[in-house]
Subunit: 338 residues, 2 copies
């Protein structure tokens, strides 16, 4: 089974050569699994690439979507960008999936307009894998700021399927982010969603989850609207960074503390790896007709390679087919087109 | 200037004797500042109290509000509770302020109904002081799950005044919690609030704040609706707890790591104190006609003493008078009664 991924190596915080290196590493590592890559970049960037193995080809583009570009104008003014080109390769069937470390909003807009959504999916969502005591997937992280109970139910189903296929969790526990654990908690949207999720036999709903339980294996899939989810995601990221600063501060306080740091180097390194998002490398868009993964803007070669590994699992596990089947479920209240 | 605080020592996670000890410590420490306390408890609890100094008196109550009690029934069924008695002492003028470590919802409901709000204040808010790199006050932490732009503006003003009076910050920076820093970010409520806060000359608005910047001194007052605020507060608490577990884990990995722990004991202790909410001890309700402070449910003697110290500052700084004056500000869009 051959899987071809269109890889936009422009528009990240790191130079294209760094991302290309991550792509080349992934291509070599997963060649045996049928992975083929199409790197999309400008001519200028192409001149600085490492040597490409046989299963990597090049596709040139004329412009680059910047992080500061307004997503709504990208489709008009930057149709010839590496980002839009990568998405178009996927639409045309030359690629099975897309990875980009560029502008999140532009990737979402371009993918939604060009690749489009799975039939019955009212809204695609941005999922993010949160590495705490045990990793879980949080969605929606901001693809849509508003939601309805039916849309949150859709997120729950799509997140469950993704957790099964990509995280390898057999019966993922779905939690609803809320301001308390009791069923009546939250604003009306969340009260109604609680009822829908409780009645949905296709998922393993474990109830409302409060923020304080999130780092401690409260659930495998955490569902919320995109406004709340984006704020939650960024607070978790901020607090993880704060933790890193604090630990560094402890070990830089003087010679004895530095010795203490040397004695615990193995443990602090292991912790850093545990809470490092680069181990997963990317945030999947769920609900689109083809797999699209947003690699972190600050991706280096290692985390970009991880994002490509993730999209390979996304493809091979039949995630899209499973979401399509879930939409066709007769008991579903989620598959009503607007 | 004499300040009398009604102190409910029942209904917390720790026994009344522990909270009474904290109250007695505060009474001794701040006797010179005119602090007098009325401890409210059951007869049973009264029999186990430490010896009371001259500036502490007792008031007996017949029942206790439990953490699991529904706030809406407390006013009907537990009018004789220590919590309602403490609030009533304040209403009747026998006390100037209230502190309780009991049921948050019940304290808010009883205070709102008995003490009532400052004229012009449409909604009282629950503030919480978040101890990260530099402490800031987050409001609303869940007193009201819904809000309007005018209500969020009200929170901004009240939070500013509290930060001046209690945290001692001259010109507090007010941030709006949002999913991005640009003015157009967020759901409609937040877009409208951004405009109101920008135009409000009585506050020092510094714009939208994302979650990732919160631990790093982004603002002194962080404003949001109660649903988002409660979730944000609990994620921060959860991540701080996770940080504690991780650091403990580092130093318990083996004999060398334990030696490392011993060498950095001073630094880890300092960090623990820095991120310890018990240093502030309580969350103020803002907008009520008298100062009411909710001490943390798990308060021990030290943090209960800190909550009483906080309410003393709340009273002495003229917070209520300043909020009242702010409501009378002609340019204000916040003082429209529903």
């Amino acid at each position: 089974m051959k899987i071809t991924v269109a890889v936009d190596i422009m528009g990240g915080d790191n130079p294209p050569s760094e991302l290309a290196q991550g792509a080349v590493n992934a291509a070599k590592e997963f060649a045996g699994e049928g992975l083929e890559l199409i790197l999309v970049c400008t001519e200028d960037a192409a001149s600085q690439l490492p040597q490409l193995p046989k299963n990597v080809t090049l596709e040139l583009a004329n412009s680059v979507v910047e992080m500061t570009d307004d997503p709504s104008v990208v489709m008009k003014e930057k149709k010839d960008s590496s980002l839009v080109t990568a998405v178009t390769l996927c639409k045309e069937g030359r690629a099975d999936a897309v990875v980009s470390a560029g502008n999140t909003g532009a990737l979402f807009t371009a993918s939604s307009l060009i690749i489009r959504r799975i039939k019955g999916v009212r809204r695609a969502a941005l999922g993010s894998i949160i590495p705490v005591e045990k990793p879980f997937i949080l969605l929606d992280c901001g693809a849509n700021l508003d939601a309805t109970p039916e849309i949150l139910q859709l997120y729950a189903r799509m997140g469950s399927i993704y957790a099964q296929v990509v995280l390898g969790i057999e019966n993922p526990r779905v939690g609803l982010l809320n301001n308390g654990t009791e069923p009546h908690k939250g604003i009306a949207l969340y009260q109604e969603t609680y009822k829908l999720l409780s009645a949905d036999e296709t998922i393993n709903f474990v109830g409302n989850c409060e923020g304080k339980s999130l780092p401690f294996d409260a659930c495998d899939v955490l569902v919320c609207d995109g406004f709340t989810g984006n704020i939650a995601l960024k607070i978790i990221e901020g607090m993880a960074k704060f933790m890193g600063h604090c630990i560094k501060g402890i070990f830089h306080a003087g010679p004895l503390a530095m010795l203490g740091g040397a004695l615990t180097l193995k443990q602090t390194k292991a912790l850093k790896e545990q809470v490092d998002p680069s181990e997963y490398g990317g945030a999947p868009f769920l609900g689109l007709a083809k797999p699209v993964v947003k690699a972190h803007g600050s991706s280096d070669a290692y985390s970009f390679r991880s994002a490509i590994k993730q999209v390979l699992k996304y493809c091979k596990g039949g995630t899209i087919e499973k979401i399509t089947a879930s939409m066709a479920n007769k008991n579903s209240s989620v598959n009503i087109e607007e």
